[in-house]
Amino acid sequence: MVASPVIRWAVFVVVMGFALPGRASAQGGAAPSAAELRQAQSEVDRLRQELADMRQQYDARLAALEERLKALAAGAPPPPVPAPPPAVPPAAGSSKVFNPDIAVISNFLGVAGRNPHSDQPALGLSEVETSFQAVVDPYARADLFLAAGPEGLEVEEGFVTFNTLPGGLLLKAGKMRAQFGKVNTLHTHAIPWTDRPLVTQNLVGGEEGISESGVSLSRLINNSFLFLEATGEAYYGNSEVFASPRRSKLAYVARVRGYRDLTEATNLDVGGSFAYGPSAGTPDSPSLDPDATTRLFGFDATFRYRPLRRAIYRRLQARTELVWNRPRSSDLAGSTAFGFYGSGEYQFARRWFGGARYDRSARAFDTSLVDSGGSVYLTYWPSEFNQIRGQYRRTHYGDGVKANEFLFQILFSIGAHGAHVF
């Protein structure tokens, strides 16, 4: 009775085939026309025919099987064993090697203490960043970073890099953190603190920074004295600093970076940045003037010390960034807002880093308000895939509010081994 479920199913289909039009017509309340009846009749005939065909096929198969069984019982050679399904073709198996490197870095952040200017929750998984990185073809590579946080999932960065262009050029296109200064280019998990400096928050696009869609072209300026790189970028503004009101209004970023090894263990990294584009106004008072613009000037300097023989035990990094933010608009009286931070970090054991940062920054669009603050922090690295950090932060806001906070962070990374940023 191999065929019985199939037959039952077919019968069910036939019955339903009768029942459904009947119900439909009953609901419609009209008697079926002669044409409709003829059509239904022919349909039933067709189904009957199909059913008969099916039964015939199954009978034939059953007979064949019985034949085979009889042959087996009589000691005839068994029918050939069907060939095993072809193994996964090598091409399909090895295609896994073309999968991008995937890594997930999570940032668990806690904060204690009172700060009326901060809505940061006491405990929260503030960001889970997934990266996909691979070579696209002989001419380009791609880097995608998806960040999931309390606000949802967003593309933090996603760009293609053409790294085989002639003339010492490097072209990137996609969504990127703009090459303005140092901290703006770094992902949250790559900065040495639990938070971003006040100057970044006030003048360079808040937590997100200047992160826009556009193109970036950079060139090495060959010389024997130092590493010199010039970068020019154009973006469709969509951040807290720049907002393009129409297609023709883009934001532009330019940067020159110089680097020189002072000794085998020490080096100096200096940069100047400039950004210009349609102003986004402030979250509280978006600019009413569509022609309002913002200009940013930045200067950054980093000194590093890392003795090669003890590279895994000792290092020092001192860094400062200075930013001037100059809005120009008919409805907002623009005066230049200035801010900076200075920071130092020292590794004193294989797994321990300690550091401090001083912050001072006026607010964009209201330079009479100057926020300042300081932080000290301690970082413990169980391994390079895991960091635990505690930071004490004291902030004195321009409106007179004072905040004392303790921040706590665990960064943990799984997946492909990412390269370190310098």
């Binding site: 070579v135 002989p138 001419y139 590579r141 890099t161 790294n163 085989t164 262009l165 010492g168 050029l169 490097l170 090495l220 060959n222 590493f227 790189e229 970076r257 680097y259 020189r260 090894d261 085998e264 080096n267 990294d269 590093r304 890392r306 090669l308 023989r309 003890r310 590279a311 895994i312 035990y313 294989r350 797994r351 391994s383 390079e384 895939f385 799984i414 081994h417 990412g418 390269a419 370190h420 940023v421 310098f422």
Partner: protein, 309 residues
Amino acid sequence: MKSFISSSAALLLALSLASPAPAAPPKVITTTEDLAALAREVGGDRITVESMARGYQDPHFVEPKPSFIIKLHGADLLIVIGRELEIAWLPPLLTQSRNARIQPGGPGHLDASAGVRILELPTGQITRAMGDVHASGNPHYWLDPDNGRVIAKSIVGALARIAPADKAYFDQRYADFDRRLADAQKRWDAAMAPYKGTKVVTYHRSWPNFTERFGLDVIGYVEPKPGIPPSPSHTIDLIAEMKRQQVKVILVEPYFDLKTPESIVREVGGKVVVLAPSTGGVKDAPDYIKLFDYNINLLTTTFKQVLGR
């Protein structure tokens, strides 16, 4: 417009024809000094060679300094150890080098691990709970002279591709190096023969190819797991194991802190030997053959002192 295109095309063509074939010797850049030393052996004065990492530096943790970008930008050949040794620092440098020749797959990119004997290839599932394990085997393979020979041969192949006119020169230099290395190997094998089977402890898993080649038996590591710093409990266990098996010698790389190894040998009455894991790691190991001369000499001297034979 047409005339503009054709004239600029003509100009480009003229420029490309006018610029003479590079008379300067090919520039070779390597990630480690061992590769630079081997390239120097076969390339002689027909190439210029420079290494990014120094021999006394931990090759896993090199800083990707922008000054390396300039060097990579002008390089004709890049030679890497591969096997994920440089994974934490080389990829971003390569991207920023703006040099198509030396990208992986390019004519000027040589992974020296092709064809060498690789040990500690993981079998089965690996996780980071095992520490910093290398999924494609132990990358410290240059510490077996037979592997050095294979690397030198690969470099000859790569050099012949970028400077075909000098192929005979490279071949002749290789033959000479091969002969000197074979002579040296006889010397090293003879010196180490009395200590075959000697049990030692090493700090990191940097020495499997070396200890296998010269018949040493590694019974443990100062690191509890690769890349994980020594822990008190592991150190206590290691001391007990060394006492039980009467192991007296710990081999340490020059970039590790000696505090833990020193405290262990105080307990077991042995000695710490700071070997050179790479050419240039010490002043007396300026080339590949002298690297082994230095290490073998240091080891045999120490064994004589500690084992009394």
